[in-house]
Subunit: 141 residues, 2 copies
DNA sequence: TTTCATGCAAAAGTTTTGCAACCCC
DNA sequence: GGGGTTGCAAAACTTTTGCATGAAA
């Protein structure tokens, strides 16, 4: 996604536009590796040497409330996902890589629909992780 | 599950049996509310006043490695799940309750099978959370 | 007897908070 | 100009670690 598109998205959501925010949003949205806060901090810091982690945390919570990114808490630290479609995260327990994966046949939609239709719960968003070994770690073992 | 059954399970897994471990395992396995470490600590402490949180953490990691419980990291703190079947966690964003739910039609099994069959990933275990409003919070709103 | 768990204390690491200066709208 | 954001520092909290004592096998 281009810088201009991201700026427009932020404005659409009523988020005040600052250079730091734009840079942070750009890094998270254009990273497919589900970066940690330290990853994001480190990548954005190349452009804003005075940036602090507090600003990164603050911005990420703004982006999350706007629905642009999702926080994925893990045991050690959170990862961030900018894919807001219904998908599965394939989490490698060895190298800690995370890859998005389509579940196929609209299975996830069907599960959510059924729960919604029961009237016992009102769905907002979801997280589906499958833990195991990624292709690369499989080869190495 | 009875104390005797739990003791047997621990022994089967080669876990050294201590009164503290048995009590912690019993609390987690017989709690359907997905307790936090502090919840577990507080419940077991009634019986073992000298118990420390370090022991609770240590025991939980042993139980997790044995596959008896699953850790669910959240933003604030982890919750513990003793349901090792393929299910969905309905997580209320208002009252923070977590209720297990069957997905129906073996959808989860089908999704996992497809990923496994692709040969690109080797499944171990999974976590599927749906966030939203629980029945009770829906009524109150 | 040997090995491992417990309790206690301290450390580590992530995330949050408070506040003054500054920038966006 | 007004209100929200940044940067800096410190605090809060969960989780981990080290080590001596004590209990399980």
């Amino acid at each position: 996604m281009t810088t201009v598109d991201i700026a427009e998205k932020l404005r659409d959501q009523g988020i005040r536009l600052t250079p730091q925010r734009l840079a942070i949003a750009e890094v998270v949205i254009n990273s497919a590796d589900h970066p940690t806060v330290r990853d994001i901090y480190s990548r954005v810091r190349d452009f804003f040497p005075y940036l602090t982690v507090a600003t990164v945390y603050s911005t990420l919570s703004v982006l999350e409330r706007a629905g642009l990114v999702a926080q994925l808490p893990f045991q050690k630290e959170s990862r961030y996902d900018s894919n807001n479609t219904l998908h599965v995260n394939l989490v490698c327990t060895k190298c800690e890589s995370i890859v998005d994966c389509d579940a196929g046949d609209n299975y996830l939609e069907k599960i959510k629909d059924r729960i919604q239709d029961s009237g016992l719960f009102q769905n907002k968003y979801q997280r589906f992780d499958i833990y195991g070994l990624c292709e690369n770690c499989l080869k190495l073992s």
